[in-house]
Protein backbone atom coordinates (compact mmCIF):
# COMPACT_ATOMS: atom_id res chain seq x y z
CA UNK A 1 0.00 0.00 0.00
CA UNK A 2 2.81 2.39 0.90
CA UNK A 3 4.50 1.72 -2.46
CA UNK A 4 1.25 2.48 -4.27
CA UNK A 5 0.75 5.66 -2.27
CA UNK A 6 4.29 6.73 -3.03
CA UNK A 7 3.77 6.10 -6.76
CA UNK A 8 0.65 8.27 -6.70
CA UNK A 9 2.42 10.99 -4.75
CA UNK A 10 5.18 11.04 -7.34
CA UNK A 11 2.62 11.15 -10.11
CA UNK A 12 1.03 14.21 -8.49
CA UNK A 13 4.42 15.84 -8.14
CA UNK A 14 5.30 15.16 -11.75
CA UNK A 15 1.92 16.36 -13.04
CA UNK A 16 2.17 19.72 -11.32
CA UNK A 17 3.66 22.58 -13.30
CA UNK A 18 5.28 24.09 -10.21
CA UNK A 19 7.44 21.03 -9.81
CA UNK A 20 9.08 21.76 -13.15
CA UNK A 21 9.89 25.42 -12.47
CA UNK A 22 13.20 24.49 -10.84
CA UNK A 23 14.23 22.29 -13.74
CA UNK A 24 13.30 24.93 -16.30
CA UNK A 25 15.01 27.72 -14.35
CA UNK A 26 18.28 25.83 -14.01
CA UNK A 27 18.14 24.84 -17.64
CA UNK A 28 17.83 28.48 -18.65
CA UNK A 29 20.42 29.63 -16.14
CA UNK A 30 23.00 27.17 -17.37
CA UNK A 31 22.59 28.40 -20.92
CA UNK A 32 22.90 32.00 -19.68
CA UNK A 33 26.10 31.28 -17.71
CA UNK A 34 27.70 29.46 -20.61
CA UNK A 35 26.82 32.34 -22.92
CA UNK A 36 28.34 34.86 -20.48
CA UNK A 37 31.50 32.76 -20.13
CA UNK A 38 31.98 33.13 -23.84
CA UNK A 39 32.59 36.86 -23.34
CA UNK A 40 36.30 37.78 -23.46
CA UNK A 41 36.59 39.27 -19.96
CA UNK A 42 35.28 36.29 -17.93
CA UNK A 43 37.24 33.91 -20.14
CA UNK A 44 40.41 35.97 -19.55
CA UNK A 45 39.80 35.92 -15.79
CA UNK A 46 39.58 32.13 -15.66
CA UNK A 47 42.63 31.89 -17.94
CA UNK A 48 44.57 34.18 -15.60
CA UNK A 49 43.79 31.98 -12.56
CA UNK A 50 44.79 28.84 -14.43
CA UNK A 51 48.03 30.35 -15.72
CA UNK A 52 48.98 31.70 -12.30
CA UNK A 53 48.82 28.13 -11.07
CA UNK A 54 50.68 26.69 -13.99
CA UNK A 55 47.61 24.85 -15.33
CA UNK A 56 46.99 24.67 -19.06
CA UNK A 57 44.01 26.71 -20.23
CA UNK A 58 42.95 24.32 -22.97
CA UNK A 59 43.12 21.24 -20.69
CA UNK A 60 41.26 22.76 -17.77
CA UNK A 61 38.86 25.30 -19.26
CA UNK A 62 36.62 22.42 -20.32
CA UNK A 63 33.23 20.82 -19.56
CA UNK A 64 33.85 19.56 -16.04
CA UNK A 65 35.43 22.76 -14.74
CA UNK A 66 32.62 24.88 -16.18
CA UNK A 67 30.00 22.50 -14.77
CA UNK A 68 31.48 22.98 -11.30
CA UNK A 69 31.47 26.77 -11.78
CA UNK A 70 27.82 26.67 -12.76
CA UNK A 71 26.77 24.50 -9.83
CA UNK A 72 28.89 26.16 -7.14
CA UNK A 73 27.55 29.60 -7.93
CA UNK A 74 23.93 28.83 -8.79
CA UNK A 75 22.68 26.01 -6.67
CA UNK A 76 23.30 27.36 -3.19
CA UNK A 77 20.46 29.87 -3.27
CA UNK A 78 18.44 28.97 -6.34
CA UNK A 79 18.44 25.29 -5.48
CA UNK A 80 17.17 26.12 -2.01
CA UNK A 81 14.44 28.26 -3.56
CA UNK A 82 13.04 25.53 -5.80
CA UNK A 83 13.34 22.80 -3.23
CA UNK A 84 11.64 25.04 -0.66
CA UNK A 85 8.90 25.80 -3.18
CA UNK A 86 8.03 22.14 -3.62
CA UNK A 87 8.62 21.23 0.03
CA UNK A 88 6.46 24.13 1.19
CA UNK A 89 3.64 23.07 -1.11
CA UNK A 90 3.58 19.39 -0.36
CA UNK A 91 1.21 19.48 2.62
CA UNK A 92 0.04 23.10 2.88
CA UNK A 93 -1.18 23.22 -0.72
CA UNK A 94 -3.35 20.14 -0.20
CA UNK A 95 -4.82 21.67 2.95
CA UNK A 96 -5.40 24.98 1.18
CA UNK A 97 -7.07 23.39 -1.84
CA UNK A 98 -9.23 21.08 0.25
CA UNK A 99 -7.87 17.81 -1.15
CA UNK A 100 -6.41 16.96 2.25
CA UNK A 101 -9.90 16.59 3.71
CA UNK A 102 -10.76 14.21 0.92
CA UNK A 103 -7.59 12.21 1.65
CA UNK A 104 -8.25 12.17 5.36
CA UNK A 105 -11.68 10.69 4.88
CA UNK A 106 -9.83 7.57 3.74
CA UNK A 107 -8.47 5.03 6.22
CA UNK A 108 -4.89 6.21 5.84
CA UNK A 109 -2.95 7.27 8.95
CA UNK A 110 -1.62 10.79 8.96
CA UNK A 111 1.91 9.67 9.73
CA UNK A 112 1.88 7.27 6.79
CA UNK A 113 0.69 10.05 4.54
CA UNK A 114 3.42 12.39 5.77
CA UNK A 115 6.07 9.69 5.38
CA UNK A 116 5.07 9.19 1.77
CA UNK A 117 5.01 12.92 1.10
CA UNK A 118 8.39 13.44 2.70
CA UNK A 119 9.85 10.58 0.65
CA UNK A 120 8.46 12.22 -2.49
CA UNK A 121 10.10 15.54 -1.59
CA UNK A 122 13.42 13.75 -1.00
CA UNK A 123 13.19 12.05 -4.39
CA UNK A 124 12.37 15.39 -6.00
CA UNK A 125 15.39 16.99 -4.35
CA UNK A 126 17.70 14.24 -5.56
CA UNK A 127 16.19 14.38 -9.05
CA UNK A 128 16.67 18.15 -9.24
CA UNK A 129 20.32 17.97 -8.18
CA UNK A 130 21.11 15.04 -10.47
CA UNK A 131 19.39 16.83 -13.34
CA UNK A 132 21.40 19.95 -12.62
CA UNK A 133 24.67 18.02 -12.43
CA UNK A 134 24.09 16.00 -15.58
CA UNK A 135 22.76 18.85 -17.68
CA UNK A 136 25.55 21.21 -16.54
CA UNK A 137 28.12 18.62 -17.54
CA UNK A 138 26.50 17.89 -20.90
CA UNK A 139 26.03 21.55 -21.80
CA UNK A 140 29.48 22.64 -20.66
CA UNK A 141 31.15 19.70 -22.43
CA UNK A 142 29.23 20.36 -25.61
CA UNK A 143 30.15 24.04 -25.35
CA UNK A 144 33.88 23.36 -24.86
CA UNK A 145 34.06 20.19 -26.94
CA UNK A 146 34.87 17.69 -24.17
CA UNK A 147 35.00 16.97 -20.45
CA UNK A 148 38.66 17.97 -20.02
CA UNK A 149 40.33 18.03 -16.64
CA UNK A 150 38.60 19.22 -13.52
CA UNK A 151 39.80 22.40 -11.90
CA UNK A 152 38.16 23.80 -8.78
CA UNK A 153 39.19 26.92 -6.94
CA UNK A 154 37.17 28.17 -3.96
CA UNK A 155 39.34 30.42 -1.79
CA UNK A 156 36.74 30.71 1.00
CA UNK A 157 36.83 26.95 1.43
CA UNK A 158 40.63 26.83 1.08
CA UNK A 159 40.08 24.63 -1.92
CA UNK A 160 42.36 24.48 -4.92
CA UNK A 161 42.47 21.22 -6.82
CA UNK A 162 42.95 19.80 -10.25
CA UNK A 163 42.13 16.25 -11.35
CA UNK A 164 42.40 14.41 -14.61
CA UNK A 165 39.26 13.37 -16.47
CA UNK A 166 38.27 10.08 -14.80
CA UNK A 167 39.27 11.10 -11.29
CA UNK A 168 37.43 14.37 -11.86
CA UNK A 169 34.33 12.64 -13.16
CA UNK A 170 34.18 10.30 -10.17
CA UNK A 171 34.59 13.19 -7.74
CA UNK A 172 31.99 15.19 -9.66
CA UNK A 173 29.43 12.37 -9.42
CA UNK A 174 30.16 11.86 -5.73
CA UNK A 175 29.84 15.57 -4.97
CA UNK A 176 26.44 15.74 -6.70
CA UNK A 177 25.12 12.98 -4.44
CA UNK A 178 26.52 14.85 -1.43
CA UNK A 179 24.94 18.11 -2.65
CA UNK A 180 21.58 16.37 -2.99
CA UNK A 181 21.94 14.92 0.49
CA UNK A 182 22.78 18.33 1.96
CA UNK A 183 19.83 19.95 0.18
CA UNK A 184 17.50 17.56 2.00
CA UNK A 185 17.83 19.86 5.01
CA UNK A 186 16.12 22.65 3.08
CA UNK A 187 13.47 20.23 1.85
CA UNK A 188 12.87 18.99 5.41
CA UNK A 189 12.56 22.53 6.79
CA UNK A 190 10.07 23.49 4.07
CA UNK A 191 8.16 20.27 4.74
CA UNK A 192 8.06 21.07 8.45
CA UNK A 193 6.58 24.52 7.89
CA UNK A 194 4.17 23.06 5.36
CA UNK A 195 2.71 20.87 8.13
CA UNK A 196 1.80 23.93 10.19
CA UNK A 197 -1.42 25.83 9.58
CA UNK A 198 -0.07 28.34 7.08
CA UNK A 199 -0.25 29.06 3.38
CA UNK A 200 2.19 27.23 1.09
CA UNK A 201 3.91 30.45 0.13
CA UNK A 202 4.49 31.26 3.81
CA UNK A 203 6.15 27.87 4.32
CA UNK A 204 8.47 28.56 1.37
CA UNK A 205 9.28 32.11 2.47
CA UNK A 206 9.93 31.04 6.08
CA UNK A 207 12.29 28.30 4.93
CA UNK A 208 14.19 30.61 2.62
CA UNK A 209 14.37 33.31 5.30
CA UNK A 210 15.92 30.87 7.73
CA UNK A 211 18.33 29.56 5.15
CA UNK A 212 19.41 32.97 3.87
CA UNK A 213 19.79 34.28 7.43
CA UNK A 214 21.98 31.28 8.18
CA UNK A 215 24.16 31.97 5.11
CA UNK A 216 24.47 35.66 6.01
CA UNK A 217 25.44 34.95 9.61
CA UNK A 218 27.94 32.31 8.57
CA UNK A 219 29.62 34.76 6.21
CA UNK A 220 30.04 37.49 8.83
CA UNK A 221 33.76 37.64 9.59
CA UNK A 222 33.08 37.62 13.34
CA UNK A 223 31.44 34.23 13.14
CA UNK A 224 34.09 32.46 11.12
CA UNK A 225 35.32 30.72 14.23
CA UNK A 226 31.91 29.15 14.85
CA UNK A 227 31.14 28.15 11.27
CA UNK A 228 30.06 24.67 12.24
CA UNK A 229 27.15 26.15 14.18
CA UNK A 230 25.48 27.09 10.92
CA UNK A 231 23.54 24.58 8.86
CA UNK A 232 24.71 26.10 5.56
CA UNK A 233 28.26 25.17 6.54
CA UNK A 234 27.19 21.53 6.77
CA UNK A 235 25.06 21.68 3.61
CA UNK A 236 28.20 22.85 1.79
CA UNK A 237 30.13 19.69 2.71
CA UNK A 238 29.89 18.51 -0.87
CA UNK A 239 32.62 21.01 -1.79
CA UNK A 240 34.98 19.42 0.73
CA UNK A 241 34.88 16.13 -1.16
CA UNK A 242 37.03 17.85 -3.81
CA UNK A 243 40.01 18.23 -1.48
CA UNK A 244 42.84 15.97 -2.51
CA UNK A 245 42.55 14.39 0.92
CA UNK A 246 38.93 15.00 1.92
CA UNK A 247 38.44 15.77 5.61
CA UNK A 248 36.34 12.68 6.21
CA UNK A 249 35.80 13.33 9.89
CA UNK A 250 34.33 16.76 9.11
CA UNK A 251 32.28 15.31 6.27
CA UNK A 252 30.81 12.58 8.44
CA UNK A 253 29.95 15.14 11.14
CA UNK A 254 28.22 17.33 8.55
CA UNK A 255 26.28 14.35 7.21
CA UNK A 256 25.22 13.51 10.75
CA UNK A 257 24.12 17.09 11.43
CA UNK A 258 22.13 17.13 8.18
CA UNK A 259 20.44 13.83 9.06
CA UNK A 260 19.65 15.05 12.58
CA UNK A 261 18.26 18.41 11.45
CA UNK A 262 16.18 16.82 8.70
CA UNK A 263 14.80 14.14 11.02
CA UNK A 264 14.00 16.76 13.67
CA UNK A 265 12.25 18.95 11.12
CA UNK A 266 10.20 15.97 9.95
CA UNK A 267 9.34 15.01 13.53
CA UNK A 268 8.24 18.56 14.43
CA UNK A 269 6.16 18.83 11.27
CA UNK A 270 4.61 15.41 11.80
CA UNK A 271 3.84 16.13 15.45
CA UNK A 272 2.05 19.32 14.48
CA UNK A 273 0.14 17.84 11.57
CA UNK A 274 -0.92 14.73 13.44
CA UNK A 275 -2.60 16.82 16.12
CA UNK A 276 -4.16 19.40 13.83
CA UNK A 277 -7.87 19.79 13.22
CA UNK A 278 -8.67 19.91 9.54
CA UNK A 279 -11.89 21.69 8.74
CA UNK A 280 -13.17 23.59 5.73
Amino acid sequence: MIARLFAHEMRKLVARKRSWIGFAAFFALQIAILALLQLPKPKREIGRILEQNALGFDDHYMGMTLAIVIIAFTFTLLGALYVALVGGDIVAKEVEEGTMRMILSRPIRRLELLGVKFAAVCVYTFALVVFLGVVALIFASAYRGGLGKLFIFLPDEGLFASYDTWEGLWRYARSMICLAYGTLTVAAMAFMFSCFPMKPVSATVLTLSLFVADVILRNLPYFRSIQEWFISHHIGFWVRTYHEYPPWHEIVVSMGVIAAVSATAFAIGAARFCTRDLKS
Binding site: A15, R16, M102, I103, L104, S105, D277, S280
Partner: protein, 320 residues
Protein backbone atom coordinates in the same frame (compact mmCIF):
# COMPACT_ATOMS: atom_id res chain seq x y z
CA UNK B 1 -12.93 -6.05 22.29
CA UNK B 2 -16.16 -7.31 20.76
CA UNK B 3 -16.07 -8.14 17.08
CA UNK B 4 -18.24 -5.65 15.20
CA UNK B 5 -21.11 -7.29 13.33
CA UNK B 6 -24.28 -6.27 11.60
CA UNK B 7 -25.92 -5.66 14.99
CA UNK B 8 -23.36 -2.96 15.77
CA UNK B 9 -24.65 0.52 15.00
CA UNK B 10 -23.19 2.12 11.91
CA UNK B 11 -22.31 5.14 14.00
CA UNK B 12 -22.26 5.62 17.72
CA UNK B 13 -21.32 8.91 19.37
CA UNK B 14 -21.20 9.26 23.14
CA UNK B 15 -20.51 12.51 24.96
CA UNK B 16 -18.74 14.16 22.04
CA UNK B 17 -17.38 17.58 22.92
CA UNK B 18 -15.26 19.97 20.88
CA UNK B 19 -14.17 23.53 21.49
CA UNK B 20 -12.45 25.89 19.08
CA UNK B 21 -10.81 28.53 21.22
CA UNK B 22 -13.49 29.83 23.56
CA UNK B 23 -16.37 28.64 21.41
CA UNK B 24 -18.09 25.36 22.04
CA UNK B 25 -18.48 23.82 18.60
CA UNK B 26 -20.11 20.63 19.89
CA UNK B 27 -21.59 20.25 23.36
CA UNK B 28 -21.75 16.76 24.72
CA UNK B 29 -23.48 14.98 21.88
CA UNK B 30 -24.96 11.51 21.89
CA UNK B 31 -26.09 9.99 18.65
CA UNK B 32 -26.64 6.46 17.42
CA UNK B 33 -27.35 5.59 13.83
CA UNK B 34 -28.34 2.02 13.08
CA UNK B 35 -27.27 0.21 9.96
CA UNK B 36 -29.49 0.84 6.96
CA UNK B 37 -30.87 4.16 8.21
CA UNK B 38 -30.88 7.37 6.20
CA UNK B 39 -30.50 10.18 8.68
CA UNK B 40 -30.68 13.87 7.87
CA UNK B 41 -28.37 16.15 9.82
CA UNK B 42 -29.69 19.68 9.93
CA UNK B 43 -28.56 22.93 11.44
CA UNK B 44 -27.56 26.45 10.50
CA UNK B 45 -23.98 27.37 9.67
CA UNK B 46 -21.84 26.85 12.75
CA UNK B 47 -24.37 24.51 14.38
CA UNK B 48 -21.72 21.82 14.71
CA UNK B 49 -22.69 19.46 11.86
CA UNK B 50 -19.38 19.57 10.00
CA UNK B 51 -17.38 19.45 13.23
CA UNK B 52 -19.28 16.33 14.25
CA UNK B 53 -18.70 14.71 10.88
CA UNK B 54 -15.04 15.82 11.02
CA UNK B 55 -14.69 14.02 14.37
CA UNK B 56 -16.34 10.92 12.90
CA UNK B 57 -13.80 10.88 10.08
CA UNK B 58 -10.86 11.66 12.36
CA UNK B 59 -10.22 15.01 10.68
CA UNK B 60 -11.07 16.89 13.85
CA UNK B 61 -9.89 15.72 17.26
CA UNK B 62 -12.60 15.58 19.90
CA UNK B 63 -11.89 17.09 23.32
CA UNK B 64 -13.99 14.40 24.98
CA UNK B 65 -16.31 11.57 24.13
CA UNK B 66 -16.19 8.34 22.23
CA UNK B 67 -17.01 7.61 18.62
CA UNK B 68 -17.46 4.24 17.00
CA UNK B 69 -17.78 3.91 13.26
CA UNK B 70 -18.96 0.44 12.19
CA UNK B 71 -17.86 -0.77 15.59
CA UNK B 72 -14.36 0.74 15.56
CA UNK B 73 -12.94 3.88 17.08
CA UNK B 74 -11.52 6.09 14.30
CA UNK B 75 -9.13 7.72 16.78
CA UNK B 76 -7.39 4.46 17.66
CA UNK B 77 -8.26 2.11 14.81
CA UNK B 78 -8.62 4.39 11.87
CA UNK B 79 -7.98 1.76 9.23
CA UNK B 80 -10.79 -0.56 10.27
CA UNK B 81 -13.16 2.24 11.23
CA UNK B 82 -12.97 4.01 7.88
CA UNK B 83 -12.31 1.04 5.60
CA UNK B 84 -15.96 0.90 4.50
CA UNK B 85 -16.87 4.56 4.83
CA UNK B 86 -17.38 6.96 1.95
CA UNK B 87 -17.60 10.72 2.41
CA UNK B 88 -18.40 13.78 0.34
CA UNK B 89 -17.91 17.38 1.41
CA UNK B 90 -19.69 20.50 0.26
CA UNK B 91 -16.93 21.59 -2.09
CA UNK B 92 -15.57 18.65 -4.04
CA UNK B 93 -11.80 19.14 -4.17
CA UNK B 94 -9.62 17.21 -6.56
CA UNK B 95 -6.29 17.58 -8.30
CA UNK B 96 -7.25 19.68 -11.30
CA UNK B 97 -4.08 18.77 -13.16
CA UNK B 98 -4.90 15.05 -13.03
CA UNK B 99 -7.67 13.24 -14.90
CA UNK B 100 -10.75 12.02 -13.11
CA UNK B 101 -9.46 8.45 -13.32
CA UNK B 102 -6.05 9.43 -11.93
CA UNK B 103 -7.77 11.17 -9.03
CA UNK B 104 -9.85 8.09 -8.32
CA UNK B 105 -6.89 5.71 -8.43
CA UNK B 106 -4.89 8.03 -6.17
CA UNK B 107 -7.71 8.10 -3.62
CA UNK B 108 -8.41 4.39 -4.04
CA UNK B 109 -4.78 3.67 -3.14
CA UNK B 110 -5.51 5.07 0.30
CA UNK B 111 -8.31 2.62 0.95
CA UNK B 112 -6.46 -0.57 0.17
CA UNK B 113 -6.35 -2.79 -2.89
CA UNK B 114 -9.00 -2.03 -5.49
CA UNK B 115 -9.22 -3.57 -8.93
CA UNK B 116 -9.83 -1.66 -12.13
CA UNK B 117 -13.20 -3.34 -12.62
CA UNK B 118 -14.48 -1.87 -9.36
CA UNK B 119 -13.34 1.62 -10.37
CA UNK B 120 -14.93 1.21 -13.82
CA UNK B 121 -18.20 0.03 -12.26
CA UNK B 122 -18.32 3.01 -9.91
CA UNK B 123 -17.50 5.43 -12.71
CA UNK B 124 -20.29 3.92 -14.77
CA UNK B 125 -22.70 4.13 -11.86
CA UNK B 126 -22.20 7.88 -11.46
CA UNK B 127 -22.41 8.39 -15.23
CA UNK B 128 -18.87 9.61 -15.75
CA UNK B 129 -17.55 7.02 -18.19
CA UNK B 130 -17.29 9.44 -21.11
CA UNK B 131 -15.31 12.10 -19.26
CA UNK B 132 -13.30 10.14 -16.73
CA UNK B 133 -10.06 10.50 -18.69
CA UNK B 134 -10.37 14.30 -18.97
CA UNK B 135 -8.54 16.57 -16.60
CA UNK B 136 -10.60 17.56 -13.59
CA UNK B 137 -9.77 21.23 -14.21
CA UNK B 138 -12.14 21.02 -17.18
CA UNK B 139 -15.02 19.56 -15.16
CA UNK B 140 -18.15 21.47 -14.24
CA UNK B 141 -19.20 21.65 -10.61
CA UNK B 142 -21.78 18.95 -11.20
CA UNK B 143 -19.19 16.61 -12.70
CA UNK B 144 -16.86 17.19 -9.77
CA UNK B 145 -19.70 16.34 -7.45
CA UNK B 146 -20.27 13.09 -9.35
CA UNK B 147 -16.58 12.34 -9.15
CA UNK B 148 -16.77 13.00 -5.41
CA UNK B 149 -19.61 10.53 -5.19
CA UNK B 150 -17.56 8.02 -7.19
CA UNK B 151 -14.61 8.31 -4.80
CA UNK B 152 -16.98 7.88 -1.87
CA UNK B 153 -18.40 4.70 -3.41
CA UNK B 154 -15.03 3.17 -4.28
CA UNK B 155 -14.47 1.31 -1.01
CA UNK B 156 -17.94 -0.32 -1.24
CA UNK B 157 -19.07 1.70 1.74
CA UNK B 158 -21.43 0.55 4.44
CA UNK B 159 -21.67 4.10 5.74
CA UNK B 160 -21.95 7.07 3.41
CA UNK B 161 -21.43 10.55 4.85
CA UNK B 162 -22.75 13.28 2.61
CA UNK B 163 -21.98 16.81 3.76
CA UNK B 164 -23.92 19.20 1.54
CA UNK B 165 -23.67 16.93 -1.51
CA UNK B 166 -26.16 19.00 -3.50
CA UNK B 167 -24.41 22.31 -2.87
CA UNK B 168 -24.10 24.28 -6.11
CA UNK B 169 -25.79 21.64 -8.24
CA UNK B 170 -28.48 22.46 -10.77
CA UNK B 171 -31.96 20.98 -10.18
CA UNK B 172 -31.26 18.00 -12.46
CA UNK B 173 -28.03 17.29 -10.58
CA UNK B 174 -29.82 17.46 -7.24
CA UNK B 175 -32.42 14.97 -8.43
CA UNK B 176 -29.69 12.64 -9.78
CA UNK B 177 -27.83 12.65 -6.47
CA UNK B 178 -31.06 11.96 -4.59
CA UNK B 179 -31.99 9.09 -6.89
CA UNK B 180 -28.53 7.61 -6.64
CA UNK B 181 -28.62 7.71 -2.85
CA UNK B 182 -32.03 6.05 -2.89
CA UNK B 183 -30.80 3.35 -5.26
CA UNK B 184 -27.73 2.68 -3.15
CA UNK B 185 -29.81 2.50 -0.03
CA UNK B 186 -32.33 0.15 -1.64
CA UNK B 187 -29.77 -2.08 -3.34
CA UNK B 188 -26.98 -2.26 -0.78
CA UNK B 189 -28.76 -1.29 2.43
CA UNK B 190 -26.33 1.56 2.80
CA UNK B 191 -26.40 3.71 5.92
CA UNK B 192 -26.46 7.36 4.92
CA UNK B 193 -25.81 10.49 6.97
CA UNK B 194 -27.07 13.40 4.92
CA UNK B 195 -26.10 16.86 6.13
CA UNK B 196 -27.72 19.61 4.11
CA UNK B 197 -29.28 23.02 4.17
CA UNK B 198 -31.75 21.94 1.51
CA UNK B 199 -34.65 20.92 3.69
CA UNK B 200 -36.63 19.71 0.69
CA UNK B 201 -33.87 17.24 -0.11
CA UNK B 202 -33.63 15.97 3.45
CA UNK B 203 -37.43 15.72 3.56
CA UNK B 204 -37.50 13.51 0.47
CA UNK B 205 -34.66 11.25 1.56
CA UNK B 206 -34.89 10.94 5.30
CA UNK B 207 -37.50 9.95 7.84
CA UNK B 208 -35.21 10.49 10.77
CA UNK B 209 -33.58 13.86 11.21
CA UNK B 210 -31.15 15.17 13.77
CA UNK B 211 -31.23 18.92 14.24
CA UNK B 212 -28.26 20.70 15.80
CA UNK B 213 -28.15 24.20 17.14
CA UNK B 214 -25.09 25.87 18.68
CA UNK B 215 -23.41 22.49 19.04
CA UNK B 216 -26.38 20.86 20.77
CA UNK B 217 -28.74 18.24 19.45
CA UNK B 218 -32.19 19.84 19.68
CA UNK B 219 -34.17 17.19 17.86
CA UNK B 220 -33.67 13.56 16.96
CA UNK B 221 -36.51 11.52 15.55
CA UNK B 222 -38.99 11.00 12.76
CA UNK B 223 -39.86 14.49 11.63
CA UNK B 224 -43.25 13.37 10.28
CA UNK B 225 -44.24 12.27 13.73
CA UNK B 226 -43.91 15.52 15.63
CA UNK B 227 -46.48 17.76 17.28
CA UNK B 228 -45.59 20.57 14.89
CA UNK B 229 -46.80 18.64 11.90
CA UNK B 230 -49.50 16.34 13.31
CA UNK B 231 -53.22 17.25 13.25
CA UNK B 232 -52.82 20.70 11.75
CA UNK B 233 -55.40 22.05 9.34
CA UNK B 234 -54.82 24.85 6.91
CA UNK B 235 -57.94 26.92 6.45
CA UNK B 236 -59.04 29.93 4.47
CA UNK B 237 -62.22 31.25 6.02
CA UNK B 238 -64.02 34.58 6.33
CA UNK B 239 -64.29 36.17 9.79
CA UNK B 240 -61.37 34.06 10.89
CA UNK B 241 -61.34 34.97 14.57
CA UNK B 242 -65.04 34.23 14.97
CA UNK B 243 -64.68 30.98 13.06
CA UNK B 244 -61.80 29.89 15.27
CA UNK B 245 -63.74 30.73 18.44
CA UNK B 246 -66.71 28.75 17.10
CA UNK B 247 -64.51 25.73 16.29
CA UNK B 248 -62.98 25.83 19.75
CA UNK B 249 -66.44 26.08 21.34
CA UNK B 250 -67.49 23.04 19.33
CA UNK B 251 -64.42 21.19 20.72
CA UNK B 252 -63.21 20.49 17.19
CA UNK B 253 -60.09 22.63 17.44
CA UNK B 254 -57.65 23.06 20.29
CA UNK B 255 -56.37 26.44 19.11
CA UNK B 256 -54.30 28.14 16.46
CA UNK B 257 -51.11 26.47 15.30
CA UNK B 258 -48.03 28.63 15.56
CA UNK B 259 -46.82 29.00 12.00
CA UNK B 260 -49.17 30.54 9.49
CA UNK B 261 -47.68 31.51 6.18
CA UNK B 262 -49.82 34.38 4.96
CA UNK B 263 -52.65 36.56 6.09
CA UNK B 264 -55.39 34.63 4.28
CA UNK B 265 -54.36 31.10 5.25
CA UNK B 266 -54.48 30.08 8.89
CA UNK B 267 -53.43 26.97 10.73
CA UNK B 268 -55.45 25.39 13.50
CA UNK B 269 -54.66 22.45 15.67
CA UNK B 270 -57.40 19.83 15.48
CA UNK B 271 -58.81 18.27 18.62
CA UNK B 272 -57.86 14.63 19.05
CA UNK B 273 -61.06 13.00 17.71
CA UNK B 274 -62.02 15.70 15.24
CA UNK B 275 -61.83 15.32 11.49
CA UNK B 276 -61.38 17.88 8.76
CA UNK B 277 -64.71 17.00 7.08
CA UNK B 278 -66.60 17.38 10.36
CA UNK B 279 -64.93 20.73 11.02
CA UNK B 280 -65.79 21.86 7.50
CA UNK B 281 -69.42 20.80 7.82
CA UNK B 282 -69.87 22.46 11.23
CA UNK B 283 -68.32 25.73 10.08
CA UNK B 284 -70.58 25.83 7.02
CA UNK B 285 -73.57 25.02 9.20
CA UNK B 286 -72.55 27.97 11.37
CA UNK B 287 -72.67 30.12 8.20
CA UNK B 288 -68.98 30.68 7.78
CA UNK B 289 -67.68 30.77 4.24
CA UNK B 290 -64.85 28.25 3.97
CA UNK B 291 -62.83 28.91 0.82
CA UNK B 292 -60.26 26.18 1.43
CA UNK B 293 -59.63 23.60 4.12
CA UNK B 294 -57.29 20.62 4.34
CA UNK B 295 -55.03 18.67 6.60
CA UNK B 296 -51.56 20.14 6.49
CA UNK B 297 -49.03 17.83 4.91
CA UNK B 298 -46.19 17.55 7.39
CA UNK B 299 -43.26 19.68 6.31
CA UNK B 300 -39.75 19.49 7.63
CA UNK B 301 -39.43 23.22 7.23
CA UNK B 302 -42.10 23.74 9.88
CA UNK B 303 -40.31 21.53 12.35
CA UNK B 304 -36.97 23.13 11.60
CA UNK B 305 -38.29 26.67 11.91
CA UNK B 306 -40.11 25.91 15.13
CA UNK B 307 -36.93 24.42 16.57
CA UNK B 308 -35.02 27.50 15.50
CA UNK B 309 -37.63 29.73 17.15
CA UNK B 310 -37.40 27.71 20.36
CA UNK B 311 -33.62 27.94 20.22
CA UNK B 312 -33.82 31.73 19.96
CA UNK B 313 -36.25 31.89 22.85
CA UNK B 314 -34.01 29.84 25.15
CA UNK B 315 -31.34 32.51 25.73
CA UNK B 316 -34.08 35.12 26.40
CA UNK B 317 -35.72 32.80 28.94
CA UNK B 318 -32.40 32.16 30.55
CA UNK B 319 -31.75 35.89 30.80
CA UNK B 320 -35.22 36.45 32.32
Amino acid sequence: MATPNSATPALSIRGLRKRFGKRDAVHPLDLTIQRGEIVGLLGHNGAGKSTTLGCVLGQVFADAGRIEVLGHDPATDRRRALQRVGAIFETPCFYGYLTGMQNLTALAAMSGPLDDDRIAAVVDRVGMTDRIHDRVAAYSHGMRQRLALAQALLPEPELLILDEPSDGLDPAGIVEIRQLVRELHAADGLTVVFASHLLGEVEQLCDRVVVMDHGCKVFDGNWRDTPTSRGIVEIEVDRHDDALRCAIDLALVVGPAPTSRDAATHRWRLAEDATVSELNARLIAAEFSVARIGLLRPQLEDLYLSLRESAHERPAEAAA
